[in-house]
């Protein structure tokens, strides 16, 4: 599984990184973060709706510290690895959904793009182990 590989990779990064790991909230068991739409290798037209799926954990507002729940972050064309010891960055390639949104309207330039979801805790930190989706590649016509 590609996503399992990613999780392993992220976990490895997490283990290598310093003691701050301890502060990351524990992820739920058998969680799966995934794209309901679009699917990997889809060709589509912009703008399109991107829907986020999450199994075995809940979606809540950023700032709400309920156990076993978090909020979505969508990474567009991000290649650098996730740093588990920092809040998930906020910029034009790291979109935050702190109001508990589970879908968004994307308007991407034509061409190839990668999309990946990362679940963040109340303070925007990734979970431990990180709850991330498979990184999908789409083509915008």
């Amino acid at each position: 599984m590609k996503s399992a590989g990613l999780i392993m990779l992220a976990a490895a990064v997490a283990l290598l990184a310093s003691p701050a790991v301890a502060q990351n909230k524990p992820a739920g068991k058998d969680t799966k973060l995934y794209f309901i739409w679009p699917h990997d290798r889809t060709t589509l037209r912009s703008p399109f709706t991107c829907r986020f799926g999450l199994r075995n954990m809940g979606v809540t507002h950023a700032g709400d510290d309920y156990p076993n729940s978090g909020h979505h972050h969508l990474l567009i064309d991000v290649s650098e690895p996730l740093n588990p010891n920092e809040p998930i960055p906020s910029d034009k390639t790291h979109l935050h959904f702190g109001a508990g949104q589970t879908e968004t309207q994307l308007d991407l330039a034509p061409g190839k793009h990668t999309l990946q979801l990362v679940l963040g805790d109340a303070k925007h930190y990734p979970f431990n182990p990180p709850v991330v989706s498979e990184k999908i590649t789409i083509r915008v016509r």
């Binding site: 507002h61 700032g63 809040p87 906020s90 034009k92 935050h96 959904f97 702190g98 109001a99």
Partner: protein, 517 residues
């Protein structure tokens, strides 16, 4: 009422000029049927008065509104009308406009003299005659109108399917309804008009009709506004611009359609209240001994025209000329010390940690609003968040280059990831650590992200040119400016803009205050 219901069976048209030999012209149309609830009662009450008022309503409201929505008024009867539209969206919009206007028209008169329309909208294939239309589609529309409550718009399933993704409106499903003389049950939805649709129509129809609409309320609102203006001068702008409480239901994208003047106008009232010369001397809030609290240091700006936006990102287009009125801008972002004075007064939501001289971080837009509201109350000065245009004007410092210091990244000018700063730091460095821009403002770019008053719009299409807060848009998120110490140099550009959820805190988000003269 009866007349509408009978138009199919009733009038044959012997003098119809349409050549009967040809096949009858049919077409698909959105049909709007409306009639006045309790017409007979109204006529009994005041026959001539009612008649005049109904005629006036049709002439001043129904006919022009249908025209504006590219519809055709097919016919009017004593108490009702039938109109035909090519577009279901326009048909429903038109119906909402009529209903909203009637609320305003009724506001000034006694309850039992109210003229209230019931409106039904249906999509159907109709037969077109020169001065009437016929067919099942028309009948269903008038049946829908018949079951609608006064003031309501009922639409059929066919219309709903066409408009559900195109109109920002609430729809309440009423299920399948059996209507008189129609075999199949009709799926019925009640339209719950939203504030945004109402605002749009208001803008389109700046007529006397609408002056009537809020006359009573405007007087009250005007009184309140005047009262607030006479008190701390920042309040009216705040009140008009956004709901002051950080209530967490951002579903409705616009503030309620209050008949008070638009935010821009409210803001512009303020400068006219005070002579412009007062803007020139440096505002030195520390000199006012009445309040012993840390107040942000302000720099007075003369205002003027500048080119807002850039071609570096789609959100910054189109570049346009914007004229900003004189105002004062915080010399630095609001510091932890300044913020914590508000927190100590229990007026701000959290106590900030970190060094006193560092900018406050982890503030949501609503947090920032709480601070400026509190500051304005305490100081009796018109403190507020800057508008997006004011922020960019101040950040450019009279320059039109990529950065305020030129087109190349140079160390020592801003705190950002690749400007020589420490992006791994948990806190930004203290305010004023980098060079000030030509206006004498520090950290306009880099350091902390800074909230402004405006709701998010994805580009400048339709943005105002007077430097005012751009009302409307997606108010579930607001505009952030400046970029933070964790972003790269692209985000430090004065034209750069981004957005974030209104009520969500993030560790790189702070703000600075503005002050109306």
């Amino acid at each position: 009422m009866g007349e509408i219901r009978d138009f199919k069976s009733g009038r044959s048209q012997p003098d119809n000029p349409q050549p009967p030999g040809n096949s009858i012209p049919r077409r698909l149309a959105a049909i709007v049927a409306g009639d006045i609830a309790g017409y007979s009662r109204l006529m009994q009450l005041d026959e001539e008065g009612t008649h005049t008022r109904v005629k006036r309503t049709v002439r001043d409201l129904i006919e022009p509104t249908i025209g504006e929505h590219h519809g055709k008024l097919v016919k009017t009867t004593g108490d009702g009308f039938i109109a035909m539209f090519d577009s279901p969206v326009e048909a429903v919009r038109c119906s909402i406009v009529i209903q909203q206007n009637m609320i305003g028209r009724n506001a000034a008169i006694a309850r039992d003299h109210w003229i209230e329309y019931r409106i039904g909208v249906n999509l159907g294939d109709v037969i077109i005659e020169p001065d009437d239309i016929y067919g099942d589609g028309v009948n269903v529309a008038s049946r829908l109108e018949g079951i609608a409550a006064p003031g309501d718009v009922f639409i059929s399933g066919g219309i709903y399917e066409q408009i559900k993704h195109k109109m920002v409106c609430g729809y309440e499903s009423l299920g399948d309804k059996k209507v008189k003389n129609i075999t199949d049950p009709v799926r019925v939805y009640r339209v719950l008009p939203d504030a945004a649709a109402y605002q749009r129509t208001r803008r389109r129809r700046e007529s006397i009709l609408l002056t009537l609409l809020g006359l009573a309320i405007t007087i009250i609102a005007g009184g309140v506004l005047w009262y607030l203006l006479a008190q701390p001068r920042s309040k009216p702008a705040d009140v008009a611009q956004a709901p002051p409480s950080p209530a967490a239901s951002p579903a409705v994208p616009q503030p309620a359609p209050s008949p008070a003047p638009a935010p821009g106008q409210a803001a512009s009232l303020v400068p006219s209240a005070a002579p412009t010369q007062q803007a020139s001397p440096q505002a030195a809030p520390s000199a006012s001994p009445a309040v012993s609290m840390p107040q942000p240091e302000m720099v007075s700006l003369q205002g003027g025209s500048f080119s807002m936006g850039s071609n570096d990102d789609p959100s910054e287009r189109p570049i346009r000329k914007v004229t900003v009125k004189p105002f004062a801008m915080g010399k630095y972002p609001v510091s932890v010390r300044e913020w914590n004075a508000c927190a100590a007064a229990k007026a701000c939501g959290f106590t900030a940690s970190g060094k006193d001289d560092a900018p406050v971080t982890n503030a949501s837009w609503s947090d920032a609003k709480q601070y400026v509201t509190w500051l304005a109350e305490q100081t009796k000065k018109a403190y507020r968040l800057p508008s997006e245009a004011e922020w960019e004007y101040a950040a450019r410092g009279g320059t039109q280059s990529k950065y305020w210091w030129g087109d190349q990244v140079q160390p020592g000018h801003a705190g950002c990831k690749d400007c020589g700063g420490d992006a791994a730091a948990e806190q930004p460095v203290k305010v004023g650590s980098f060079k000030p821009n030509p206006f004498g403002l520090y950290d306009m770019g880099g350091g902390v992200d800074q909230w402004v008053e405006d709701c998010w719009h994805r580009n400048y299409q339709g943005a105002p040119a007077d430097g005012a807060v751009w009302s409307g848009g997606d108010c579930a998120s607001h505009v952030i400016r400046s970029g933070s110490w964790k972003n790269d140099a692209r985000y430090v550009r004065p034209a750069n803009r981004d957005n974030y959820d209104t009520n969500v805190r993030y560790p790189t988000h702070g703000f600075r205050v503005a002050l109306s003269p």
